[in-house]
């Protein structure tokens, strides 16, 4: 399999070139700009057959994606932070219409104060819109996840829009060694979209997006919820097929040295990688430390998580976003809810960290593991890397 040096953004643009979507509608925003910029050059150079729509805002971008997807096209876009926020109005429309739009989002702090660096506040705020959400630890995963996202979104039992994220600058602008599928292999893996209905099929006219009052709205929302419940098993099937092609294994979660771990961290994105380095260090000193990385945040892998953490004594959940609920970050509340009522469950504490691109150091992670060794003395809600 060919290897290449790619940044996270280049890796995602490369995946888009191989996917060769019918339509891309996008508006540039730091730090995601390169994805659509590089892709626009592929369009200009004739390397893809895509209809590229340079719109005037992200609201228009997502609206154009909805229209094109309803017409039966395979549709992609990319954005970040305020750009995603400007799409919020349209995101639940995409899922309610069961349109398998594929998005790359480069995680960046929401304004304000204005900031261009990484945290997960943009996609965490979009977690309840019926989109599948997949987080990537590095450039390789960004590429692999985006390729798989096409199959996940368009799976006939799923038909849900899907976003794949990377950590802004930390991954989006970091050059790394990655393996890339041969073009033909990627093309075969993603196949063609087979839309059940198309607005352009005048022989078989349909209505999409009609007013849906108390008589039917609820049933349609139930179908979105049911599709989300079904999605996990299909995400796993597609991961299995991807592994057969590439040798790279994917799951809903990744357990790193967790089997016999006494203390563990739960993290998403690039922090999971930094945590792996610290886990290795602690293991070499005889400390039974582990990591649970969440790859798929929507649907939330509650069952897999509860099982994986059942025999760990103390767990720290790291949230790179606060939900200002005064009850911890969004990942923490999901996990505590997943563990509720389980007879075997770890003691759980929460850290909000890394907001607005605050660096996550080895010492920060060592500090969390050290806190876990005295968890009985720890408050539930904590921060690291912040001046108080």
């Amino acid at each position: 399999m060919p290897t290449a040096a790619k940044t996270g953004n280049e890796a995602m643009a490369e995946a888009m070139r191989q996917i060769n979507p019918d339509v891309v509608a996008a508006y540039p925003i730091t730090p995601a700009t390169e994805i659509v910029m590089i892709f626009a050059s592929f369009v200009a150079d004739g390397l893809v057959d895509t209809e590229y729509i340079p719109v005037e805002s992200e609201h228009s971008a997502m609206s154009a994606c909805v229209g094109a997807s309803a017409a039966g096209a395979r549709v992609m876009t990319g954005t970040s932070s305020q750009g995603l926020a400007l799409m919020y109005e349209i995101l639940p429309i995409a899922s309610a219409l069961r349109l398998p739009i594929i998005m790359s989002d480069v995680n960046r702090a929401l304004s304000g104060p204005i900031n261009i660096h990484c945290d997960h506040s943009d996609t965490m705020a979009a977690r309840d819109f019926g989109w599948i959400q997949i987080f990537s630890e590095n450039a390789q995963e960004a590429y692999d996840n985006l390729i798989q996202a096409v199959r996940i979104a368009e799976h006939p039992k799923v038909k849900l829009p899907t976003m794949v994220t990377t950590d802004g600058f930390i991954i989006s602008h970091c050059l790394e060694k990655i393996e890339i599928l041969e073009d033909a292999q990627a093309k075969q893996f993603v196949g063609e979209r087979k839309a059940e209905v198309s607005l352009l099929d005048v022989e078989h006219p349909v209505t999409l997006g009609a007013l849906d009052l108390p008589d039917y709205y609820f049933e349609h929302k139930l179908q979105v919820a049911e599709a989300m419940r079904q999605a996990s098993q299909h995400i796993l099937e597609i991961a299995k097929e991807f592994e057969q092609q590439t040798g790279r294994k994917y799951d809903l979660i990744e357990n790193y040295k967790l089997d016999d771990a006494e203390i563990a961290i739960v993290a998403l994105g690039s922090t999971a990688g930094t945590t792996k380095a610290v886990v290795d260090e602690l293991r070499s000193k005889g400390v039974k430390a582990g990591l649970l990385k969440i790859r798929v945040f929507r649907p939330f892998p509650a069952e897999a998580l509860a099982k994986a953490l059942a025999n760990v004594a103390a767990v720290a959940v790291l949230d790179r976003a606060d939900s200002y609920s005064a009850q911890g970050g969004p990942v923490y509340t999901e996990i505590s809810s997943a563990l509720y009522g389980k007879t075997k469950a770890p003691k759980l504490i929460n850290y909000v960290y890394g907001l607005g691109g605050r660096d996550v150091t080895i010492d920060d992670i060592r500090g969390v593991f050290s806190d876990l060794q005295k968890i009985d003395k720890m408050p539930t809600f904590n921060y690291f890397g912040v001046r108080e």
Partner: protein, 192 residues
């Protein structure tokens, strides 16, 4: 973590500090290493101080923290040392490589530096004489290869030649000039 080489580049916007990190990363990767190359993002203006970074290892690198204790620091512009603490985080056995016509002892005096090892190379002069412009990043790469000793200069030249030939297909003189710059810097870098 110990086996990973961490490098920091200082330059001014437009001097190629980011490109230098990318070139080094790609060269090391094509020679079988795992790599990271990333710039520091802040206000990006021509002439303003900028930094970029590399991690290079024989094993996959999962660490994604910033680099605060590089074992090698390269400075593309001598005048930066007036305004930037270029030795910040550099350990006692770390190495500092500066683009300057001065000798290492002069730089040590100017920085009032204790510990670490100082190397100098007149990368701007070499660049002017080989490429015809002051683009010090490729000669600095040659100096780095000599000082760090983790890559073979022949391998780096071969890799660079392939890449530059692809990029500058219609301008063979640029390819030859850059290769010459790397070779000269590799030979001319001054140690204490």
């Amino acid at each position: 973590m110990d086996s990973t080489l961490e490098i920091r580049w200082h330059g001014r916007g437009g001097q190629g500090a980011k490109t230098a990190a990318l070139l080094l990363g790609e060269a090391a990767m094509s020679l079988g290493k795992y790599i990271q190359a990333f710039p520091e993002y802040g206000p990006e203006r021509m002439g303003a101080p900028v930094a970029s970074f590399n991690r290079i290892s024989d094993k996959p690198i999962t660490l994604h923290s910033g680099i605060t204790n590089p074992s090698i620091v390269l400075v593309l512009d001598h005048t930066l040392i007036d305004s930037i603490d270029v030795t910040a985080g550099l350990p006692a056995d770390g190495k500092l490589i500066i683009n300057t016509a001065l000798a290492p002892a002069d730089i040590r005096k100017e920085l009032k530096l204790k510990g670490s090892r100082v190397f100098t190379i007149d990368a701007s002069k070499i660049s002017n004489e080989t490429i015809g412009r002051d683009i010090p990043n490729t000669p600095m790469l040659g100096a780095l290869v000599k000082v760090s000793g983790f890559l073979k200069i022949e391998d780096v030249l071969k890799d660079l030649e392939t890449k530059l030939k692809k990029k500058f297909a219609s301008k063979p003189e640029i390819v030859a000039g850059n290769l010459d710059a790397v070779k000269r810097a590799h030979a001319e870098v001054m140690a204490e």
